[in-house]
Amino acid sequence: MLYRVRMLAAALRPIAVLAAAVVLAALSGCVQTTEKPTPTPTAAATPAFASDEEALGAAEKAYAAYLAVDDAVLHDGGLNADRYEAVASGEALKASISNAEKFQAESVRTTGASSFRTEKLQATQFLGDGVTSVAVYVCDDVSGVDLLDSTGRSLVSPNRKPVAPFVITMERQNRTDRISQRELWTTENFCS
């Protein structure tokens, strides 16, 4: 008997619910949506360098590569300066290319190899857009490098100070490290 009452109530309920739903929808706006939820994509992100040491190491490597290319281009009297593109960017690339042009214009070339030693990490900086820069103090040594004119005569000044302090900046982007800036540090000579 009681069962029958329940059945009746159950049978009528959908109508009541439907009516209530219509009222609710009218009052409160739609709760339902057909928009399909999409999972937010995730990606692993790691800092560019795990430590100062790693940043310094990367900059050293990049600068060694830069100097190797620089020596090669200057041995050739500044020819094929596009070789710099693999190891330099920005200001450093511009300066390197214009230096190579100067070598061509003056018909000079170098012999020997440049070397350097790293003094200290100056700063690392996140520049945005996935670019991280690392600035390092280095002591450039050109004592093994000679500058020759087209007749093979050395143009090196007797007063040359072969070891000079520089600040070089390397930029890491898309896992590629290039030297982006290279400037003489004029404040003090931390190399001597």
Partner: protein, 276 residues
Amino acid sequence: MGIMVAACLIASLSISMPAAADDLCDRFGQIAGGCDVPDSSGAIVDDSVELSAQTGTGSTAGDGDDGGASAEPEPPPLTTVIGVDGTPVSRRAVEGGVGDAGALGCTGPVICNPLPEVTMADIAAFRPTRPTQGMEPSGWMVVGLPANFYGSATADVKAGTLLGLAAQVRFTPLRYRWVYGDGASAASRSGGRTWAALGAAEFDATPTSHTYGTTGTFTIRMAVDYGAEYSFAGQPWRTIPGTLTVWAPDLTATANAAKTVLVARSCLANPSGPGC
């Protein structure tokens, strides 16, 4: 973005640029011996950052070094600045540490860089506790009658490493979403509650109930969209743009048809009627 620490840039940029290197010192000048290589010596002794303490904004005013050739050049003061999070400022700069504008302040020779924007991708290693979902009746429903669905997710604080620094990420459930498996879906700010908790009767409609129109077995999926904030070393919470969606374990339930007959009178009035 909103995380830029603009006020802090004043002292920063003077450090990395030496007084503009003179034109002669390209590679040609360097090799030929034309560079004006400074005489003074002095090793860089500190542990991290080189700072030529130029406070204020004056452009190049005081860099030429005091009084001509007083053969005693003053090396720039070298200072290791440790941020409030215990990280040297130089590393903080690259790794997006905080504190540049915080307790440390930006007075004095502190490198302050804009903090990088932390994105949802950066916090991929942090996960909120997985939400759960439930339904009433458990595992089945009646076609044409509301089944009640509810999800449970809590605000969660997870500790870990963010951009190389110890950090906390706080997750707050913002939205619950259901995909009912019959083509319908719904979203709600609240996760819903059981009929009992709502003081409702069985098969009552609730803000998170759903009524199936056909019989069948359905997989019900529920996700929670979390908002996230991060904090380094007790620094204020900063909001990360976007939301993170985490799915609860699926439910499977069967919708059955309940056949009912409409009768003219109750069993009390008509004890011999159908079903009585």
